[in-house]
């Protein structure tokens, strides 16, 4: 089994008075895509925000490359090599695509510019709309821009929150292709409700329910367990087809 680049152990997080994460533990393993699945309100997005430092945990530890990060500020965590694509994509609508990328680039050295070139090859729409206002892009193009921003720096771990949400099936297929290419270079921790996408890109899974991890394992195991999917994800075989 590959080593874990990120480990969350016994993490508790509150949003206001609400106790969202109630002792969550999971790992993101190197050279793989780990998927957090679960129903709405299970704590998936909160888990990613907690890792990013946007919601500080009240208890527990989060280690990235064996160093604790749970007390660090979001910008310090990002500078360690963790990229984040939030559920709402976090696009700066009043800025152009170029300016969005510029904000994301922590350095403008040769290596970063080479990565930028590779990204525009991978996602040609970005180059096409380079000087357009990002607010005018389609949903799929915005998602691609959000991912591009997160990987333009040297990213060891990429956190992506529900990238398929609200996208047309054909765009989801393109997204699956993109994430499969990204996973050749970065570890990906993905939150996803669309089981088709989770199954197509994921290697490992964790099911979250009411702020706790209730199951984890190989994605193939989840794909073959109809009872588990029905109980925790509300997916029946008929719906999946």
């Amino acid at each position: 089994m590959p080593e874990a680049i990120l480990k969350a152990q016994g993490v508790h997080t509150y949003i206001g008075q609400h106790h969202i994460l109630q002792g969550v533990s999971f790992e993101a393993r190197s050279d793989a895509v780990t998927v957090l699945v679960g129903r709405n309100g299970a704590g998936k997005s909160t888990s990613l925000k907690t890792i990013m430092g946007l919601l500080p945990p009240s208890q527990g530890s989060i280690t990235f490359r064996a160093a604790e990060i749970q007390r660090k500020k979001p910008y310090e965590i990002a500078r360690l090599g963790i990229g984040f694509v939030p559920e709402d994509m976090g696009i700066f609508s009043n800025l152009t695509v170029e300016e969005n990328m510029k904000v994301a680039m922590l350095r403008e050295d040769r290596e970063t510019l080479r990565r930028l070139e590779a990204i525009t090859d991978l996602l040609p729409d970005l180059g096409k709309f380079w000087t357009a206002n990002a607010g005018n892009l389609s949903g799929g193009q915005k998602q691609m821009l959000a991912i591009a921003r997160a990987i333009v720096n040297e990213t060891a771990l990429l956190l992506i929150d529900e990238p398929s949400k609200g996208l047309a099936p054909i765009i989801v297929e393109a997204l699956i292709d993109t994430i499969n290419r990204i996973k050749e270079h970065s570890v990906v921790l993905l939150v996803e409700q669309n089981f088709h996408m989770a199954g197509a890109v994921g290697d490992y899974f964790y099911i979250l329910d009411d702020g706790l991890v209730v199951r984890g394992g190989d994605m193939e195991e989840l794909a073959g367990d109809e009872a588990l999917k029905s109980r925790y994800l509300g997916i029946s075989a008929a719906v999946e087809k």
Binding site: L54, Y75, P86, G90, N94, L95, E99, K102, V103, L106
Partner: protein
């Protein structure tokens, strides 16, 4: 569809420009040509002075969404810092030397920028940072800060009005075939244009400016991209405060006086200008300030008793036509 929209935007832009030119020329129906030109230059200078005060407020209120009632007090602190420099270097003020006159003005501006930027930084770190996102708390806390800062002026410089002597080079005017052009007004127009250009370059052409604009839109996301947005916003607030100080020095030399409550007088103008121009738009603030300056001068000549009210009237008319102002950021 996009083409039709662009054509409509272009057409409505042309109509707006034509309407603006007509309005600008309208006073010529009642004012003789040479007096009109003199009033226009005076109005442009007044507009630029108001822009200097409003540009800082446009950054703090328009971009950062902080209702800063202490902005007028920061303006007054800038004016008093300049006043102290003028007092210390009074020999240069009265010297018959362009270099020394410009020198003392530059030192006064630099001292005011530095002192008020530090004051702004302390204000942001100590108070404002705690009330981001809550206009009610911002009003309460910045109003309190304004009272304290004005009282501190009374403690350090005394409660009375003080006279500022204009450097010799800035006094007087040129008579260009009957059109009177005051020297200091020309300097104010130049400073205003320079400040406008610098703000535009920083915000639109530098990476820092791009990060600031991104931070205004989504603070959390900018942090998650590796930027220390708290530190950047402290810097932005300090820059806004420094611009208030520049306005304070320029305006006090124009008015030839400083007094502890002077900030309140100009804060109203600044808020009107920022609202007319559209929140967060520096170009809008410049245009708003020029409209206010010109209208004030034309109306003061034609109907003196209505001069003070005309700016509020302009604000009401513009907001009725365009509720988001002339150039709202991102609009």
């Amino acid at each position: 569809m996009a083409g039709a929209l662009a054509a409509f935007k272009k057409r409505s832009g042309e109509v707006s420009l034509a309407a603006a030119v007509v309005l600008f020329m309208l006073p010529l129906l009642w004012i003789p040509g040479k007096i009109y030109l003199t009033l226009t230059i005076a109005g442009l200078a007044m507009g630029m002075l108001i822009f200097l005060v409003a540009s800082g407020l446009s950054i703090i209120f328009g971009l950062m969404d902080v209702l800063n009632f202490a902005h007028g007090a920061l303006f007054a602190w800038g004016a008093y810092t300049g006043f102290s420099v003028f007092k210390l270097m009074r020999v240069w003020v009265g010297a018959d030397s362009v270099l020394k006159n410009v020198g003392v003005f530059s030192v006064a501006v630099a001292a005011a920028l530095l002192a008020v930027a530090v004051l702004g930084m302390l204000l942001e770190r100590g108070l404002i940072r705690r009330v981001y996102g809550s206009h009610l708390f911002q009003i309460l806390i910045t109003f309190g800060a304004m009272v304290v800062l004005v009282e501190l002026i009374r403690v350090f410089w005394g409660p009375n009005d003080e006279v500022i002597v204009q450097p010799l080079t800035f006094r007087g005017s040129w008579d260009m075939q009957g059109v009177i052009v005051e020297r200091y007004r020309v300097l104010c127009i130049m400073i205003g244009l320079l400040v406008y250009a610098m703000i535009q370059i920083v915000l639109k052409k530098t990476k820092l400016g791009t990060i600031v604009r991104a931070g205004v839109e989504n603070r959390e996301m900018v942090q998650a991209m590796g930027h220390n947005i708290s530190r950047i916003f402290t810097g932005v607030f300090a820059a806004g405060a420094a611009l208030a100080a520049l306005g304070g020095v320029a305006m006090s030399v124009f008015d030839r006086q400083v007094y502890p409550d002077m900030g309140g007088t100009y804060l109203l103008f600044a808020f009107i200008v920022v609202i007319i121009g559209g929140l967060g738009s520096i170009t809008g603030s410049l245009l708003g300030a020029l409209i206010v300056g010109l209208a004030y001068n034309y109306v003061a000549y034609l109907v003196p008793w209505a001069a003070a009210a005309v700016n509020v009237l302009i604000m009401i008319i513009i907001l009725l036509i365009r509720p988001t102002g002339l150039f709202p950021a991102g609009g």
